[in-house]
Symmetry: none
Subunit: 179 residues, 2 copies
């Protein structure tokens, strides 16, 4: 199973009108504060790994914290990564443990994330601090090509252009904007 995901930069107002017109189903609306850590013994930018603490606050329920390791791209075409994640009770304590081990907070990504279900895809409206508004269309599939074509169709139905696809992560975009 692959996660097929297409992301473009787009103002949300027009996209919301299209989601409404197509009766897309609201799924959730959360705030995510992600802290990415650097490692003392290797350069994650070079190894293409990431270590993240995410504090997620849903509008409708209680906050929780996850710690996540993302491995390097296993296959460039499918954007497949190994991902290991577990919920932790306390973001501050987890951060303090990492810092005691000389992992350092290197970057923070803050965003509002609103998800909708549409035609078997998840449409995500992200408002990222310092970067602006983005729309992601994603699904899980065994066959990548038809899933990607379907994601492109959903994008077009929302008035967006698949050729505007951005493959860089928000973290990568933020780090690039600092340079």
């Amino acid at each position: 199973m692959y996660e097929v995901e297409v992301k473009v930069r787009a103002d949300h107002a027009a996209v919301r009108e299209q989601l409404d017109a197509q009766n897309a189903t609201p799924v959730d609306h959360v705030t995510q504060i992600d802290t990415y850590y650097s490692a003392p013994h290797r350069d994650f930018a070079e190894t293409d790994e990431a270590l993240r603490i995410r504090e997620e606050t849903p509008r409708e329920s209680n906050s929780f914290t996850e710690v996540t390791y993302k491995g390097p791209l296993a296959d460039a075409k499918s954007k497949t990564r190994r991902e290991i994640e577990t919920v932790v009770e306390c973001a501050d304590d987890m951060g303090a443990i990492l810092e005691a081990l000389d992992f350092e907070p290197a970057a923070e990504v803050r965003k509002e994330r609103e998800r909708f279900a549409l035609d078997g895809y998840t449409v995500t409206l992200d408002s990222v601090e310092g970067l602006g508004e983005f729309v992601e269309v994603e699904t899980e599939a065994e066959d990548i090509d038809p899933a990607r074509e379907g994601a492109f169709d959903v994008l077009r139905s929302l008035g967006l252009d698949p050729d505007d696809q951005i493959q860089t992560s928000y973290l990568g975009l933020l780090l690039a904007s600092d340079e």
Copy 2:
């Protein structure tokens, strides 16, 4: 805040009689399986630190998992360390994250732990696989000296001798017994 802790080797039978005579309050009775990790970038045996995943199964409630960092000894006269700890949802995922970062499981400590409250201290009866029976007296305090003297008083009241104090961790004792 420091964890001030004094530990001696002692048969539990006589100590239980003293706890009973002093109306110590039973707190809990748990099984703990601790996995200690080595670090890729420094030798915890040299730096006197520890990184641990603990799976605790109380007699009276559900199992849970904690990840803990212990700093070097802050006080030569007791087992006082900086300790940072948080509950995590999944021991296997937390272990997999550590291993992806090249921390390796180095040793396991299994024990039965029975805790009592007495005069503001916690008295712990530990039965450690491969090592035998121990009694610990501990508290949390800002000031180390009076807390340690109080712990010595509690030990004496249980018929034990503070001079028998063992400053080596169970992990250290197990590793030493392997040599």
